[in-house]
């Protein structure tokens, strides 16, 4: 019975979409140029041009998209060129925009979507109303919205602190006993126990280049990992009193520095950490991590479990996610949230419509985009065409290897056929880069690792266990002037603070309370108070908006 109903529903759904496509109001074909960031595929332009899903979507609204994919690495330059020379495309992916959207709109570059939202984008509008966090990120202080956002329904952390569990097991013969008596390392004492075992292990293995803990070249994770255990939530965070704070100017940061200095002297911290500035902090020295000579580092979801092992060379690694150590000596009870455990929508992920479009073109494309916020549209966008949707073209497209196809009608479930099609090297509709809702991957039956755990879920659960309250939202909106002042002060403060932090940890500058006070004073002299008041004001506006 259930089956019959679902088939019936699917047929209705299908008829509905067919009818939409045949509507007479779309009798004139409209063509749009699109500036779109390329995906990580060999031929991104053709990926968009040949996507079965995009063809289906275009036909539905009788539109045609003409893609302009900038060379990888030159995206922001081309974006600025377009804006600077007036050679806009009709549709612009704002992923690399560095300008204030409100200013762009005031200058007549992009359309303000607010007046069109309710009438032409009912689904988008309804979705935003149901998700105030995204809404407050996409609307700015003037109450306008400029983007058809690309929104992850349930974003996952892609990385965080990880540690080599196998080392602890080996060194203790399987009886890992953390001083806190927890199963996982939680306090500073636990970490010291762990780092000591790791150091012994590397020394016993005769490695001359090893790292217990790898920290970034600036001496701390600006996104909050590690320092969150000392009660600091990253470079910018919101403290318990609701005040915006600058992490490295906080009093607690002294405790962090003292501990890091101690660990550095004991050889727990990677001796050459300060020189690795060209390693992005989230991928430190792969020679150490993949070479099996690192204990704790900022790892990626893909590294969890035993995927980094080299069985044929006798290198077995068991990598597990980790939370920052809690500084119980100074009264900290739980780690502060980290920066990455953050927002779903952002004011630079999505499409803006430029004024190269007249109102007729604007309305048509908004209507088309709106479909990507419906349940069916989102499923199609995220996982490709279902059997009926692509019936006519499916065989041809799957033969060419340009769609997963084979999605069950009316479902958003990932199937084996889709996985098989994925091996052809194809991807869904623009992954996270096109507007619409990116459907949660949790619902798909994904590959589990040997522990029977989905690393995406596993990592995410651990890394965000500190909660999401108190994270300073990176999607917050500023005026152009505020932005400029904030950037200037921040650069000056960092230019002063980062060398100091590294010197404190390495013992090149003596770390005393007085020295730290002088350091804090210098940050104030460089404009910390003005910086914080601007951030605070923007944050207050943001929270007020979210409360509406």
């Amino acid at each position: 019975m259930k089956k019959i109903i679902s088939v019936f529903l699917a047929v209705i759904l299908l008829l509905g979409t067919l009818q939409t496509a045949a509507l007479a109001e779309y009798d004139k074909k409209l063509t749009y140029t699109v500036f779109q960031q390329g995906d990580d595929v060999p031929d991104p332009e053709n990926q968009y041009r040949n996507s079965a899903m995009i063809h289906y979507w275009q036909d539905m609204f009788n539109i045609e998209l003409d893609w302009q994919i900038p060379p990888q690495g030159s995206e922001s330059e081309q974006m600025n060129l377009m804006l600077g020379t007036g050679d806009y495309t009709d549709i612009m992916d704002m992923g690399f925009n560095t300008e204030n959207l409100g200013t762009l709109c005031d200058d007549g570059t992009i359309w303000d979507l607010t007046p069109y939202l309710d009438e032409y984008m009912p689904n988008y509008s309804a979705w935003l109303d149901a998700n105030p966090d995204v809404k407050s990120a996409l609307f700015d202080d003037s109450g306008r919205i400029y983007l058809a956002g690309s929104i992850q329904e349930h974003p996952k952390q892609w990385g965080g602190l990880v540690y080599r569990r196998d080392i602890l097991e080996t060194m203790t013969g399987g009886n890992v006993a953390f001083p806190s008596r927890n199963a996982e390392p939680t306090t500073i004492a636990d970490w010291e126990y762990m780092l000591d075992l790791m150091t012994q292990y590397f020394k016993a293995a005769g490695m001359n280049d090893y790292a217990g803990l790898i920290i970034p070249a600036i001496g701390y994770f600006s996104t909050g990992e590690l320092i969150s255990g000392f009660g600091i939530g990253g470079a910018d965070f919101v403290n318990a009193e609701g005040q915006v704070a600058y992490g490295i100017a906080e009093d607690n940061f002294y405790n962090y520095l003292v501990k890091m200095k101690e660990w550095y002297e004991k050889g727990y911290i990677y001796g050459d950490f300060a020189s690795r500035s060209q390693d992005l902090f989230y991928l430190p020295n792969t020679a150490l991590t993949y070479g099996g000579a690192a204990g704790i580092w900022f790892g990626l979801v893909q590294q969890l479990g035993d995927t980094m092992s080299l069985p044929e060379y006798g290198l077995m690694m068991e990598v597990e996610p980790l939370v920052a150590p809690i500084d119980t000596d100074h009264g900290i009870e739980a780690p502060a949230p980290v920066y990455l455990a953050a927002n779903r929508g952002s004011n630079n992920a999505g499409w803006a419509i430029s004024t190269a479009c007249d109102e007729e073109k604007l309305i048509r494309i908004l209507t088309a985009i709106d479909w990507l916020y419906t349940a069916e549209g989102a499923a199609t966008r995220s996982m490709g065409l279902s059997e009926e949707q692509g019936a006519a073209e499916l065989a041809e497209y799957t033969d060419k290897g340009i769609t997963h196809g084979a999605r069950k009608n009316g479902t958003i479930e990932w199937t084996d056929e889709m996985d098989a099609a994925k091996d052809l090297g194809t991807y869904e509709f623009g992954q996270n880069r096109l507007p619409g809702i990116v459907v949660d991957y949790k619902t798909r039956t994904c590959e589990l690792n040997e522990q029977g755990v989905d690393p995406n879920v596993w990592g995410d659960e651990v890394w965000t266990s500190c909660g999401r309250e108190g994270v300073f939202p990176y999607t917050i909106s500023y005026t152009a002037e505020e932005q400029e002042t904030i950037n200037r002060i921040n650069t000056n403060m960092q230019d002063y603070a980062h060398p100091m932090i590294v010197n404190f940890i390495m013992g090149r500058t003596e770390l005393t309370e007085d020295a730290f006070k002088a350091y804090q004073q210098k940050l104030h002299d460089l404009g910390l108070d003005e910086y914080l008041s601007l951030r605070q004001a923007a944050y207050d506006r943001y929270t007020a908006r979210a409360a509406d």
């Binding site: 300008e99 050459d272 060209q278 980062h498 060398p499």
Partner: protein
């Protein structure tokens, strides 16, 4: 110097423009495409320098952006790290000028002393190879060599008796590391022009000198070097004209907060502040400051060179 044997022709005729035009009709015709080229591709865009005096917003264009006078320059000069980055830029540049530049001449001369052709060719061919390898790879190797257990660190510590440390995180060594790695990557390539100049030197002069009993070294000193002197001086002057333009890519790959005090240069500063955060006006102002200083240095170098060596880039040879 062989060229001295031919004094420039005395200008007997009156040099009025019309006369010159009649005399050098062919030259004027040839000059037309040259002038047109530089006018179109180099001078026409120079209006863009105006944005140094603006709070430039790309979407408003040069005409629509707000004028802010010399604010961008004041911001730069009053930046807390202005003097540090200016000093670092000059030192890194001057080290290149005083050490790397003569080295490329010495390298060309060394090559010239090799009689065994296959060896000469091989060395010449391999010497420019590092130039083609991407900076990322080269700097990656430098980072490994200078790590606390790296090859270079090992040799350095054995010689100086200092305890092993990561050389790249010590601000005292940054200039040396930058210079040496620069030599490694560019010595061969930058000597190409001198190798070519040396091959133009008259073999007969050498033979005559050899018959007269001049030693090898003496011949290098009094025949080869004077003959390539115009090339050397020209290159030197050109380098003086780019003294403040230290490329940022390499420094960006090698520096870290612990070495900002000696490694941060104007271009990396601009890169951190300007481009990443779209401050066009500011970065153009810094660029313009660079250009003005470079012009002054170039003219000065040209002046001294004309006074002491007979060669100049701007005015041609000194008249006798």
């Amino acid at each position: 110097m062989q060229a001295k044997a031919f004094p420039s022709p005395k200008k007997t005729c009156d040099t009025s423009l019309r006369h010159d035009l009649a005399m050098n009709k062919g030259l004027y015709l040839l000059a037309i495409p040259i002038i047109a080229f530089f006018l179109v591709f180099n001078y026409a865009p120079m209006g863009g320098l105006l944005i140094a005096f603006q709070d430039f917003k790309p979407q408003r264009g040069i005409l629509g952006s707000n004028w802010v006078g010399v604010k961008n320059f004041v911001d730069f000069f009053t930046n807390p790290s202005f003097w540090t980055i200016l000093r670092n830029t000059l030192v890194i540049s001057l080290l290149g000028l005083v050490i790397a530049f003569p080295m490329s001449i010495v390298f060309a001369l060394q090559l010239n002393e090799i009689n065994w052709k296959p060896f000469k060719k091989t060395i010449q061919t391999v010497s420019y190879m590092p130039y083609f390898i991407s900076l990322v790879v080269i700097c990656g190797l430098v980072t490994e060599f200078c790590a606390s257990n790296g090859v270079v660190t090992g040799i350095f510590c054995a010689i100086t008796g200092k305890p092993a440390e990561n050389l790249l995180t010590n601000p005292n060594y940054f200039w040396a590391i930058n210079l040496l790695s620069d030599l490694w990557q560019n010595l061969g390539y930058s000597s190409i022009i001198f190798v070519a100049a040396i091959t133009s030197v008259s073999a007969e002069l050498h033979e005559a000198a050899a018959i007269d009993g001049a030693t090898r070294l003496r011949r290098v000193w009094s025949i080869t070097i004077p003959s390539i002197m115009p090339t050397i001086v020209t290159m030197l002057i050109l380098r003086c004209g780019s003294l403040l333009s230290v490329g940022f890519e390499k420094i960006l790959l090698l520096y870290s907060p612990s070495t900002y005090s000696t490694a941060d240069v104007i271009s990396t500063h601009v890169q951190r502040l300007g481009i990443e955060k779209a401050q066009y006006g500011y970065s153009t102002a810094v660029g313009l400051f660079n250009s003005v200083i470079n012009t002054i240095l170039l003219i000065t170098a040209n002046h001294f060179s004309r006074k002491y060596t007979d060669t100049a880039v701007l005015q041609g040879r000194k008249k006798r």
